[in-house]
Amino acid sequence: MFGGLLQYVISGLTVGSAYGLTALGFTMIFNTTGVINFAQGEFVMLGGMMSVMLHQAGLNLPAAVILAVAAATAVGAAVERLAIRPVRRATAINLVIVTIGVSICLRGLAMLAWGKDTLRLPNFSGAAPLPVFGASLMPQSLWVLGVTLLILLGLRLFFSRSIHGKGMLACAYQRKAAYLVGISVERMAMLSFALSAATGAVGGAILAPLTMTSYDVGVMLGLKGFAAAVLGGLGNPFGAAAGGLILGVLESLGAGYVSSAYKDALAFIILLVLLFVKPSGLFGRKSAERV
């Protein structure tokens, strides 16, 4: 009984980490630029797919993952420069449509380049599950949780210690004021896209050995990531990460105890109830923005 519960929690936390990383990406871009980036899921997809492709091309696993993340980061920066900057004065809804167009393009490119097959990345360190109090823990889950934690710590340091991190925070508070004190808002916007592409790509790469990957995994991951970001109170990066973990665990428990067919529905039903009870997310401040 306890073993079963633990098992669900472990797998929930693992998947939730990926949601959390996606949500973190949403939040960073939203804070710095005010854009809800619907192409966030595609960054996750790119991380996973490019890792697989580079690994198949003969690179060893760490090199493939690092190179894939670097490439996705470049794609993120390019997206900001080519698609977002030309319309940065547009209304929020227009910007959303632009990111939807970008996500369609990225997905189309991935499909053309790598086909429609579902692919798997080998486990980072063996596939023998470790027994933990009657549940079994995949070594890859440890990787996922560990890397997620590292990224959170790294971002925490980045935002509190580095000048660029502080610049991004300043943009989040007041873009105009940040501009007035000499922060290059444009560069911060590009940095936020690059950074969230990197975060998303890492999530995609570390999850790929567990859940497989294909050109279209970005859609559902992006959706869940957005849900997690809203659950955590949009604009709060660590709330977003927590939102991802909560969503992952709820989903996993729902799949285990209620019905696996309705696991996605369950996650969203809980989300709706939460929103109706607490309209600004779990950790969010009250806001009155409009799309």
């Binding site: 449509i97 632009v98 529905a265 989300l271």
Partner: protein, 323 residues
């Protein structure tokens, strides 16, 4: 800008043009594409009232389209209801669901409202997928009868197109009247500032709920037309993708523009058909067109057309001035 046509004339002209279209484009394939355009335009028209005029986003409108389609399909096929009753029930069910969701959801703002409606849409799609005993599951629901009203069966594609285009023209006229009315003014006031609207005595929550339900009704009417046209419904047609596509149609057509809604729906519904010749890269070009349109036509097709008309009329005025 100068009003080009007296108010009542343009829907009539639109109706005439829509009725003449199948005689010009008589190919059956064109007629079926135009029918789908009309059906999508109906949903987008409703969504534009909600998003473009009242400023409330919904990322779950495909669900209302689906509820209408499925309810009518199941009632008329499995339970052998007469078609008019099934259609009516489908629309009423969608309105009831919109009321249930709208009361709590419309208290939310901005991205939270987007998330709530998105979640609702995903839940409905999953329910359509999983209740296999009722809906036939992911493989869809077959054998929906062709529409028969007052003893007349809309058997040919062309007659069905006339029905859909007629319904659309009716909806256009209705929406125009609504926009020009007290309700329309209230909706625009809510868009500009909900606080100010409340302060001026506009009952904002009631108006928001009204326009939400109205847009759901538009979507459900489109849904029943869709189900009895194709004779087949599958959950994949009513998912998140379609909701996003609907929003895209509203924005690309032009927010808060009735004709923009119709143009956006027609453009994005027929675009994949044109791109089919490009085979594999069609999806890529579709995405590119979206991005480029938003970069170069921020006001959508309607905004672009207005700008073009202004430039042209300035040119003409300039010529006249010099002559």
């Amino acid at each position: 800008m100068r009003r080009a046509l007296p108010g009542a004339l343009s829907p009539v002209l639109f109706f005439a043009a829509a009725m003449a279209a199948p005689f010009v484009l008589s190919n059956q394939y064109y007629v079926s594409v135009m029918t789908l355009c009309a059906i999508n335009a109906l949903i987008v028209l409703g969504l534009n009232l909600l998003l473009g005029f009242a400023g409330q986003i919904s990322l779950g409108h495909a669900a209302f389209f689906g509820i209408g389609a499925y309810a009518s399909a199941i009632l008329t096929t499995t339970y052998a209801w007469p078609i008019w009753a099934g259609m009516l029930a489908g629309v009423c069910l969608a309105a009831a669901v919109a009321w249930l969701i709208g009361v709590p959801a419309l208290k939310l703002h901005g991205h939270y409202l987007a998330m709530a409606t998105l979640g609702f849409g995903v839940i409905v799609q999953i329910a359509l997928n999983e209740t296999t005993w009722l809906t036939g599951g992911p493989s869809g629901f077959v054998g929906v009868p062709r529409l028969t009203l007052f003893g007349y069966t809309f058997a040919s594609d062309r007659s069905y197109y006339f029905l859909c285009a007629g319904t659309l023209a009716l909806a256009v006229a209705l929406s125009r009247n609504l926009i020009a009315s007290r309700t329309g003014r209230a909706l625009r006031a809510i868009h500009t500032s909900e606080g100010a609207a409340t302060a001026m005595g506009v009952h904002t929550s009631r108006y928001k709920l009204f326009v939400f339900i109205l847009s759901a009704v538009y979507a459900a009417v489109a849904g029943v037309l869709y189900a009895h046209y194709l004779g087949f419904v599958a959950p994949a047609s009513f998912g998140f993708h379609f909701s996003v596509q609907l929003i895209t149609m509203v924005v690309l057509g032009g927010m808060a523009s009735i004709w923009g809604a119709v143009a956006g729906a027609a453009f994005l519904t027929s675009l994949p058909e044109f791109l089919r010749a490009l085979e594999n890269i069609d999806i890529l070009v579709y995405g590119l067109v979206l991005v480029l349109c938003m970069i170069y036509l921020p006001g959508g097709l309607a905004g672009g057309a207005a700008k073009l008309a202004k430039i042209l009329s300035n040119r003409i005025a300039g010529h006249a001035g010099r002559a």
